[in-house]
């Protein structure tokens, strides 16, 4: 990075932060701090919902996922449009009618205090874990850009996010997210444009798609019924439906976003905006990763994309083992490149049998070069204890630093930070507000004034930020960040969703039945996760179904207790 990059990076970040401070000046009340001023329009709500979900992981790790496994991950989002419709029809009117600060307040009104605490507790546990993983992503960027130690960069980026969130509250989060998203989209489009321009100096767009397809990177939809496969149309549609229903409908970091709208209509339109835009957005980011894969077929990539880890291991390598991998990989890559060129020439000539034979040879050459990379990774792990074997998260940042012009590098690094600030701020804000509203104000201190609760909310936001930093220090152990976030969510979300669905639709089930059922269902999901090897998306469905069925069964033997208040759905 040079002076121009730093100017773009700090200029854009500072301008957004100053706007956030100016936009929320004089804000003192608890409602404004936690929910915003209640005047937000649908586009801001929609962008805010999108920005809260789209962390730096989305823009850093997802291209790596596309590079490694192709477009199949897009199926993960197939359930989202349907989930957002259900939330718009069922969840949203109830939340708005009851004027709740958090989704878990509703559980307290429908069931009892202990069920509210359990719902809030499950949210705090899973979101606290998830927050640690999302704070890890910008640390990767800093570590790669500056060559700093990863633990130091986690600490630095974590503290910046905490300060930013504590200063602004919910209103600042909503109103700065649209500008952060603008920085992100401009940065990603610019990166895509440069990638396309560089790629087309070697081959045309059709050839690029043929190479991607030939290596299986364009297989976006898999209709097979196998439950072992991580991403299929069915796991995405059903498991993804339950995951999105839980995330958008019961996760306070999202509920807080759309409850800040000025009316039910604005909230609904904000959600429908996401229902339409989510899949193409993820597709575009994955396609960028696929483009990187094609680009690196013609431009030799490093043996290992995590260059900092590679350099660290190389310093310990007294026998020159790693250097030998570099030369072997260079030879294997050259061989593969020649095969691909032959394949494309045959394809252009319309010689189908020759093209098929050349494609098979190219795939074989690819396997051989990947085998060298695998050996190199094993050696790296032996030399640098604790180094992560999977380098997919480093693919995009490596491309940015090595191939983008100055100015754009700064913009892309700014985009990762903008994504971190927008998503982390939403998460930490929700963690702080849930702790105050559902635990502190509900259990510890019921009669304080707004100023006290705002101060408490800020304090809890800081505490959760510190917890996230501690978790982030352990995130090095996960293989792919974007998957890890979804796995953690899937383990907890199903049960929480089950609690809400019982609350909405099964009015005869009382607090004690659902409380015990939720704990039993959560233990069941834990047990299954550690014993089965099915796609994690199914745990959303299993957890939800187990919670509902156990709740119904328990209610058969438990005495009926009247609900504190009515709120359910009139069908």
């Amino acid at each position: 990075m040079n002076a121009l990059d730093y100017l773009v990076l700090f200029g854009s970040m500072l301008a957004i932060a100053i706007y956030g401070v100016w936009r929320t000046r004089g804000q003192r009340g608890l409602q404004t701090y936690l929910q915003g001023a209640g005047d937000t329009k649908w586009l801001v709500v929609g962008l805010s919902v999108m920005a809260t979900q789209a962390s730096a992981i989305t823009f850093l790790s997802t291209p790596g996922q596309g590079y490694q496994d192709g477009l199949g991950f897009v199926q993960n989002y197939f359930g989202a449009p349907f989930a957002l419709i259900i939330i718009s029809v069922v969840f949203l009117p109830i939340y708005r009618r009851l004027k709740v600060y958090t989704a878990y307040e509703y559980l307290g009104q429908r069931f009892d205090g202990k069920t509210r605490l359990l719902g809030a507790g499950l949210f705090l546990l899973q979101r606290g874990l998830g927050a640690g993983i999302t704070i890890y992503a910008p640390a990767i960027v800093l570590s790669t850009v500056f060559g700093w130690r990863l633990d130091l960069t986690i600490l630095c980026s974590g503290l910046v996010v905490i300060a930013y969130t504590v200063a602004g509250g919910s209103d600042a989060v909503s109103h700065t997210q649209k500008y952060q998203l603008a920085v992100i989209f401009v940065g990603m489009l610019a990166a895509f444009g440069v990638l396309l321009a560089k790629m087309t100096t070697s081959i045309g767009v059709t050839d690029a798609l043929a190479v991607a397809g030939g290596f299986g990177k364009l297989e976006a939809v898999d209709f097979s019924l196998s439950v072992d496969k991580r991403y299929t149309f069915w796991s995405g549609l059903l498991g993804g439906l339950f995951l999105a229903l839980s995330y958008f409908g019961t996760d306070q970091s999202q509920v807080q976003r759309y409850l800040s709208a000025s009316s039910l209509r604005e909230s609904r339109l904000g959600l429908m905006f996401n229902a339409v835009c989510k899949i193409p957005m993820q597709f575009f980011i994955l396609l960028l990763g696929v483009g990187l894969f094609v680009f690196y077929q013609f431009e030799r990539p490093p043996v290992f994309f995590n260059q900092v880890a590679w350099a660290t291991a190389a310093r310990q390598d007294t026998t020159g083992e790693l250097r030998s991998f570099e030369s072997r990989f260079a030879a294997a890559h050259e061989e593969k490149q020649a095969r691909i060129v032959t394949w494309l020439a045959a394809r252009r000539a319309g010689d189908a049998p020759a093209a098929e034979a050349a494609r098979t040879a190219a795939r074989l050459a690819h396997q051989q070069s990947e085998a060298v990379r695998l050996e190199a990774r094993t050696a790296l792990q032996r030399l640098a204890q604790g180094a992560k074997a999977n380098d997919a998260d480093y693919v995009f940042i490596t491309f940015i630093l090595q191939h983008l012009p100055h100015g754009l590098i700064g913009l892309l690094v700014a985009a990762f930070f903008a994504a971190t600030l927008s998503s982390k701020a939403g998460e930490l804000n929700a963690l702080g507000s849930t702790t105050v509203v559902d635990l502190y104000r509900h259990v510890v201190r019921r009669d304080a004034d707004d100023a006290h609760y705002v101060a408490a909310s800020r304090l809890f936001t800081v505490l959760w930020g510190l917890v996230a930093i501690v978790f982030a220090l352990f995130a090095n152990m996960v293989e792919n960040l974007v998957q890890a976030v979804n796995i953690v969510g899937s383990i907890f979300y199903g049960v929480v969703l089950g609690m809400f669905l019982v609350a909405f639709f099964l009015k005869h089930v009382g607090g004690t039945a659902i409380f015990v059922a939720a704990i039993a269902a959560q233990l069941l999901v834990f047990a299954l996760y550690f014993t089965l090897s099915i796609s994690y998306l199914w745990y959303n469905l299993i957890g939800c179904a187990a919670c509902i069925v156990l709740g119904l069964l328990l209610q058969l033997v438990l005495p009926r207790t009247p609900s504190p208040r009515e709120p359910g759905v009139a069908l």
Binding site: L84, R97, R265
Partner: protein, 51 residues
């Protein structure tokens, strides 16, 4: 539950979508589903074209 029936607590502005050509919420949800189907079809076509 019919979505076109105004919610008892919904304000007048909430009953209409405010979108040209899509006056009811059912129409908006129908459009979202149609767009999803179109996405899946396009993704399948892309996969098959370069398989």
């Amino acid at each position: 539950m019919s979505d076109d029936v105004p919610h008892p607590d919904a304000g007048p502005a909430d009953e209409t979508t405010g979108l040209p050509g899509l006056r009811t919420w059912s129409a908006v949800y129908g459009l979202v589903v149609a767009v999803f189907v179109a996405y899946v079809v396009l993704l399948v076509l892309l996969s098959r074209a370069f398989a």
